[in-house]
Symmetry: C2
Subunit: 433 residues, 2 copies
C-alpha cells in the first residue's frame, strides 16, 4: 500500500489513509469512536452519526473487533483523544472481517493462559506487551551480532543435520536421511571448533539447537536458539571477557533502542549491568551456597549445583557472575583441564544470576588427549574422526562458549516461563503451531 500512513505519523492537517485492526468501538449515542491499531500505535476515528453518511457510520461502527480496516480522512487535533489527534473519516473499508468470537482478546482485558496464547500467537502478538518481548528479542540478536563483529569474529552457519551428536547418542532427535540414520544437532560445538583451526580463527553462530531432553520445566526447551562463540588463541579468561562484553552489549542495545518496548512491559529503571561480573571458583560457590543454609544437605566437592543452590547463590551475589574452575569430572571431555591440576577444568558458567546462561571453557586442542577424552566418555573416537583428525594438522589453543538466546531474553526481562521468549516453542507436549 503505497499511500498508507502509520497511525503514529498522522499529523493534524494531513489527509491520510491508515490501515490496521479495529481495536475497539465505543458508541456513545450520537457520536461513536473506532480505534484503529497498527504496528506503530493507535488512532481514534470519530463518527458523528447525524452528520455523516449512514453507510460510512455503519462500516466504521458495526465492524467486528480485530477486523482489518482502512480509513481515509482528515486528521484533526482533539485534546480528548488518547493520542491528541483523531481522524474524521471520508471512507472506511473493511478488508478482512474477523469472527466475532476470538480465542484470545488482544486488548488484554481478558487474561489468557500461556497455552492459549501459544496456540494463538497471531492474536497474542497484537498485545503491546507480547509484541514488546519479540521486538526486544530482535534487538538482542542485533546487538549481540554487532558485539561479535567488534570482537573480530566471523559469522558462520554450521549444519543442523549431523551424523553424530556432540556428546554422543543421548538426547538426540533421530532423522531418517535418505535411508541413513542421522540426528538434529544439539550444539555447533564441534563445527565451531573446526573453524578456529581455519583461517577464520574467531567465529560466532546464532542458530537453532535441538535437545531431546525429557525435562518439562519453565526454563527448558527442546528447540532453542544458541548463541555460540569460539576463538583461536583464547584461554578461558579471554573467553569470559568476550562473554561479558557480548552479554552487556545485549543489555545496552535494549536499554538504548527499546525504550517504548520496556515501557510497555512496565520497566521504569531497566539498566545494563555495570562493572565486572564477579568470577567465583566452584569451590567458593559451594562454600557460599552451604553458608546460605538454604539446602537440606551440604554440598561437597564434585557435586553438581542443584537448582535451589543456584537460586540461593544468585540471591546472595545479586548480579551476573561466573563460576570457574569446575571439577573436571562434571564438565564435558572437550573442555581442557588446568595444566597443573587435572582434577580442575577450565570450564566456566555464567549465571544470570539464579540460572545458568552461558557454558564455556578452554578446549582440549591436543590430539592424543582429545581422543582419550572420547574414550573416557564412552564414545567411539572413530565416529568423530571428521572432527578429531583436524587436530593433527595444527589446531591452536582455543576457547569459547554457548549462550542460550531464550534464557538471555527471559532473564533480562524477568519472564516466568522461557516459552514467553519463543514465538512457537517446542516441548514434549507442544509440536504445533
Amino acid at each position: 500500500m503505497e499511500d498508507r500512513t502509520y497511525t503514529a505519523d498522522a499529523e493534524p492537517g494531513d489527509t491520510v489513509t491508515v490501515a490496521g485492526w479495529a481495536h475497539e468501538i465505543r458508541d456513545l449515542g450520537g457520536i461513536a469512536f473506532l480505534i484503529v491499531r497498527d504496528t506503530t500505535g493507535k488512532i481514534q476515528v470519530k463518527f458523528e452519526k447525524d452528520e455523516m453518511d449512514d453507510d460510512l457510520v455503519d462500516a466504521g461502527t458495526n465492524v467486528n473487533r480485530e477486523s482489518v480496516v482502512t480509513v481515509t480522512g482528515d486528521v484533526e487535533e482533539e485534546e480528548r483523544a488518547p493520542t491528541g489527534v483523531e481522524i474524521v473519516p471520508d471512507s472506511v473499508e473493511v478488508i478482512a472481517e474477523a469472527d466475532p468470537e476470538l480465542p484470545l482478546d488482544p486488548s488484554g482485558k481478558v487474561d489468557a493462559d500461556l497455552s492459549t496464547r501459544l496456540d494463538n500467537r497471531t492474536l497474542d502478538l497484537r498485545k503491546e506487551e507480547t509484541k514488546a518481548i519479540f521486538e526486544i528479542r530482535a534487538e538482542v540478536l542485533r546487538s549481540v551480532r554487532e558485539a561479535f563483529r567488534e570482537l573480530g569474529s566471523t559469522e558462520i552457519n554450521t549444519p543442523k543435520i549431523v551424523a553424530t551428536g556432540t556428546e554422543g547418542g543421548t538426547e538426540l532427535f533421530p532423522i531418517t536421511y535418505f535411508g541413513q540414520e542421522a540426528f538434529m544437532n544439539q550444539s555447533p560445538q564441534l563445527f565451531k571448533q573446526l573453524m578456529v583451526g581455519s583461517g577464520l580463527e574467531r567465529v560466532f553462530e546464532i542458530g537453532p539447537i535441538f535437545r531431546a531432553e525429557e525435562h518439562n520445566t519453565p526454563r527448558h526447551l527442546n528447540e532453542a536458539t544458541s548463541i555460540d562463540f569460539e576463538s583461536a588463541f583464547f584461554d578461558h579468561h579471554d573467553a569470559m571477557d568476550a562473554c561479558e562484553t557480548v552479554v552487556k552489549a545485549a543489555y545496552e542495545g535494549v536499554a538504548e533502542n527499546c525504550q517504548d518496548e520496556l515501557e510497555a512491559l512496565g520497566y521504569e529503571d531497566f539498566e545494563a549491568p555495570e562493572g565486572e561480573f564477579p568470577r567465583l571458583s566452584y569451590e567458593e560457590a559451594i562454600e557460599r551456597i552451604n553458608a546460605t543454609g538454604e539446602l537440606d544437605e551440604q554440598l561437597v566437592w564434585g557435586d553438581d549445583l542443584p537448582t535451589e543452590g543456584e537460586k540461593a547463590l544468585g540471591d546472595d551475589v545479586g548480579s551476573h557472575y561466573f563460576i570457574t574452575d569446575w571439577p573436571s569430572e562434571i564438565k564435558p571431555f572437550y573442555i581442557k583441564d588446568h595444566d597443573d591440576d587435572e582434577q580442575l577444568s577450565t570450564g566456566f558458567d555464567l549465571m544470570a544470576p539464579s540460572m545458568e546462561l552461558v557454558s564455556g571453557g578452554q578446549r582440549e586442542h591436543r590430539y592424543d588427549r582429545l581422543v582419550d577424552g572420547f574414550e573416557q566418555q564412552g564414545l567411539d573416537p572413530d565416529a568423530f574422526e571428521y572432527y578429531t583428525k583436524m587436530f593433527k594438522y595444527g589446531m591452536p589453543p582455543h576457547a569459547g562458549w554457548g549462550l542460550g538466546g531464550e534464557r538471555l531474553v527471559m532473564t533480562m526481562l524477568g519472564l516466568e516461563n522461557i516459552r514467553e521468549a519463543v514465538l512457537f516453542p517446542r516441548d514434549r507436549q507442544r509440536l504445533s503451531p
Copy 2:
C-alpha cells in the same frame, strides 16, 4: 593471548609476539625464512644460522608446515620481504606440531577436488580464496539484515521441528519426536505469514531449511539457508521492490566492505547492480526464450521453465530480472491469483540471471479461498488448522518472498558449485563432516 600482535599490525621498531601457522619454510643455506600466517595475513621470520642460537634456528626451520607456532622478536623493515617487514626472532615456540602428511595443501600449490576440500574444511579455509568466500558470506548476511531493518521489519525465529510441512508430505525429512511423527521444516512460509497478522506486521528470518529432494546438482542442497521476508499490507509489487532493495544491499555491502576478499578471489571490477531489475511477465519470458532458439521444443503457456530456458533468457537479459504473472497452476496454493484473472498468479521469481534466486508473491489472505486451496492441492486443511484459523481473525493482505542464501553467494561470486558457499554442505551423499 593478551600480548599477541596480528601479523598485519607488526610495524618496524616493535617487539612483537605473533601466533599462527607455519605457512612455508625456505632454507637458503646460511639464511632461512619461516613464513607465519594468521587470519590477517603473513609475515616473514628471518633465521641467520651462524648468528643465532641453534635451538632457535631448529625450532623455526625444522617445524612441519601448518604447525601452530608463536614467534617473539623485533620487527624490522626489509624491502625484499613480501610485506616489507620481517621479524628477527628471539624465541620460537611450536604450540601444535602438524603431521607432515596433510590431506590438503593450504598453500594452494596442489589442487584439491571439491570433495577433499569439503572433507577437510579446516585446512581448506586456511586458503585465502576459500576464507574470502566465507568472509563475504558473513558480510552478505550482515548487510541483508541491515536492509531488512531499514525496511522496518522485525527479525523472527520460527521452529524447525514441525508437525506438517509447508506444502504437504513430500520432500520432508521425518523426525521421531518423543514418539510422535514430526518433520524438519522445509520453509518458514506459514509461520512468517502468521506473524504479518500480528502486531509485528513486517518480519524477516534467516535460518536453515531442509528439503529431502533427490536432486544432486551443483545448485541444490538438502540443507540450505533461507532468507525470508513477509509484510502486511504489501502487494507483489511492493514485495519485489523490497526484494530488489535487499539483494542490492548485499552486493553493496560486499563491494564496500570486502575489497581484500574480492581481490583474493580475483575480482577486479566487482560492482553492485545498478538501475531497476527488469520485470518480465511469464508470457514475455516464454516468448523470449522461444525466440533464442536454444530449446529443442517451443514452450507453451503453462509450461514451467526448463533449466536451459532459464539460462538462455538469463544470457539474453544479462542482469537480474523478475518473472511475474505466472500461470496460477504452477505456483503454490498460498499465492494469490490476480483479482481479474484467476488463471494468473501474483507469484514472481527473481532470476540472477540464469538461476532462480528468489520466489515470492502476494498471499491468499481470504480464509475461504485459502481452505479451498489446501483442498485443491490435495492437502487436508484440518492438519493445517493452526495456520488457517488465524485467517478468521483479521488477516491483512500481505506479500513476501524467500531468497536462497547460498544461491545469492554463488551467483554473486560466480561459484560453479553451490557447495562452495556452505561450510559443511548436506546432500544425498554427504552427511559428514
